[in-house]
Symmetry: C2
C-alpha cells in the first residue's frame, strides 16, 4: 500500500502503476509533448527517473530510443551506463551512447578545473548541447528527460531566490523548437515526485543506480530540495502548489514578448544567442588549457542557456 499524502490517496501496487502512467500520459497531452507517430529520444542516466520514464513510454506504445551521455565520472559513469545497456537490451530497444570527453575535450571533472564554475554548471551545459546535437543527428524532433516534480520545484526555487527572470520565463515542462536546429525538450514526469518515481521503479523491478553523482554533494540544488522537503512536511502539497502555481499564474507573466534572436554558432553551426555558442567556448577553454598547462583559465563566461521560449499550447 502506497500512501500519497499530497493526493490524499493510498494505492495498492497495480493501481499505483496505473496512476503513475496516467500522470505521465496526462502530462504528455496537456503540453502536447509528442504523438505516438513520432520517434522520441529519451535521455537516460541510469537513475530511477529516466529509466522509469523510458519504461512508461515503451509500455504506452510510444516509439523511443535511449541516449546515454557518458560523462566519464569514474565508476559512477561505468555503472550507470551498464544499467542503461541492460535496460535497453532486455526490452530490445535502441540505445545511443555518446562520450562527453570526445566532444568537449576532457571528462567532466577535468572541465570544471578550466571553467572555475561549479561542475554541475559545465555538466548541465554540455548535456543540453549534446542531447540536442544527438537528436538532430539521429533524426529525433523531441528529447524527453526524466526531471520530476522535486527537480522542477528545486530549480524553480533556485531561480526565485535570485529572481533570474530569464530562467523563470523559460522554466516549463515543454520547450518548443523555435529554430530548425533545435529539438523540442519535454519533461513528462514533472507531475510526479521523487518518491513516486522511486516507487514506480521498484514495482517495475527496474535495476537503477541508486548513488547520486559524486559531484552533486553540497550542490545548492540539494540544499533547495532540503528546504522544500521541510516545507512539504509542514504543509503537504507545498511543492506541488509552488510548481503548479508558478506554471499557471506566474510563468506567463515572466514570458515577456522580448524576442531572443537565434543565430548558428560560427564553429559548430548549432543554435546560440551569440556568435559562438557556450559549448564551443567551453571546448575552446578546455583545448587552450590542455595546450598551455598552467596558464590561467580564460575566465570566459559561458552563456546560461539557449534563450528558448517555452513551448505553450494553450
Amino acid at each position: 500500500m502506497l500512501e500519497l499524502r499530497r493526493h490524499n490517496a493510498a494505492f495498492c501496487s497495480p493501481h499505483f502503476v496505473e496512476f503513475f502512467r496516467r500522470q505521465v500520459t496526462e502530462a504528455i497531452h496537456a503540453y502536447r509533448m509528442f504523438t505516438r507517430d513520432e520517434p522520441i529520444l529519451v535521455a537516460v542516466s541510469g537513475g530511477k527517473d529516466s529509466l522509469a520514464l523510458w519504461d512508461v513510454l515503451i509500455e504506452e506504445g510510444y516509439r523511443t530510443a535511449g541516449l546515454y551521455l557518458d560523462l566519464g565520472i569514474f565508476d559512477y559513469s561505468q555503472e550507470s551506463k551498464a544499467r542503461c545497456e541492460a535496460f535497453a537490451a532486455a526490452r530490445g530497444e535502441k540505445l545511443y551512447v555518446e562520450r562527453v570527453a570526445d566532444a568537449v575535450g576532457a571528462p567532466i571533472h577535468e572541465v570544471q578545473k578550466v571553467t572555475r564554475r561549479p561542475t554541475c554548471s559545465a555538466c548541465g551545459l554540455s548535456k543540453r548541447y549534446l542531447l540536442n546535437r544527438a537528436a538532430l543527428e539521429h533524426g529525433y524532433g523531441v528529447v524527453a528527460t526524466g526531471h520530476n516534480l522535486d527537480d522542477e520545484a528545486a530549480t524553480l526555487f533556485g531561480s526565485v531566490m535570485h529572481w533570474q527572470t530569464e530562467a523563470l520565463a523559460r522554466q516549463s515542462p515543454a520547450l518548443g523548437a523555435t529554430h530548425a536546429k533545435l529539438a523540442r525538450r519535454v519533461k513528462p514526469l514533472y507531475r510526479l515526485s521523487e518518491l513516486e518515481t522511486a516507487g514506480y521503479a521498484f514495482l517495475r523491478k527496474i535495476d537503477y543506480i541508486v548513488d547520486e553523482c559524486p559531484f552533486a554533494r553540497g550542490a545548492t540544488s540539494l540544499a533547495h530540495k532540503e528546504v522544500l522537503n521541510r516545507l512539504e512536511e509542514v504543509s503537504p502539497g507545498a511543492k506541488h502548489n509552488f510548481l503548479f502555481g508558478f506554471l499557471d499564474k506566474a510563468r506567463p507573466v515572466f514570458e515577456r514578448a522580448a524576442d531572443v534572436t537565434l543565430h548558428e554558432c560560427r564553429v559548430c553551426g548549432q543554435v546560440t544567442t551569440g556568435e559562438l555558442c557556450a559549448f564551443c567556448k567551453l571546448a575552446d577553454q578546455v583545448k587552450r588549457r590542455a595546450g598551455a598547462k598552467g596558464a590561467a583559465p580564460a575566465g570566459d563566461h559561458v552563456a546560461p542557456d539557449d534563450g528558448r521560449r517555452p513551448w505553450q499550447t494553450q
Copy 2:
C-alpha cells in the same frame, strides 16, 4: 563590535548607530516616503522594530506621533502598551491609543473564533484598517510601520510559495495614496535585518517587549523565517538578494496595468474594492455571532487587502 556578514563589515557602537540611521534615511529618500515638513504617524507595537524606527525618525528631525493599537491580548497588550507610553513620555512625543475591540466589537482572540481564519489574518486586516482610519482622523497623510528585511522577505516568501500574484504586485516599501481616503504606507526599515534593529534598540537603550505575540506561535510566517535563516546560513546575503532582487527585477513584472477600482464602503465610508469593506464584514460577523451565540459562523470571505498599487517614484 558588531559584525555584519551580509555587508562584509564590522562596526563599533557609534558607527553602527550611524550606519543604521543612514540605511533608514536612504530608504526614505529612495522611495520618497515623506519629507521633514509633513507629519508622520508611526505605528508602534512596543517591539524593537517600531520603537527603533520611531527613535530614528525623532533623532533625524522628522515630525512624528505614535499610534498604538490595543489588540486586547491579555498581559501581552498591557505590557506592550506600557512600553510605548514610556517611550513617548520620555521623548515628549504624542501617542494615540486605539482599542481594536471598540472598533471590531471584540478583542482579537475572540474575533478569530468567528472567522475560522488564522488569528494573524483577522489581526492584520484590522490593523491595516484602523491605521488608515486613525491617520485620516488625525490628519496624517502617511503611516510608517516597523517592518524589517526579515519581515518583508518572509512575506515575499509566503506569497511566492503560493504565487499570490496580487500580493506580489503590492509588496513594496512604499504604497502610495491612490484614493483621497487612503494614507500612504511606508516601511523605512525594509533594508535592515531583525538582528540589526535589535542591535540598534540595544545600543539606544530602548526598553521594548521581547516576547512575540502569543498567537504567533506556529504561524506560517515563522516557518518561513526559519527557512530563510537556514538559506542565509548557507549563503550570507540570501535574504537581502531575495527581497532586493524581487523589488528590482520581478515586482515591476507583476505590477500589471490591471486597474483596481476603489469605492467607498457603504457602511463606514473607507476605501474598498467591493461594496462593503473587509473590516465591516468582519465586524458584522462578530456582531451577528454575539447576537446569536452558537449559530454557525457565516464563513464570509474577508477581502485580502485594499487592492492598492505600490507607490513608485522611479
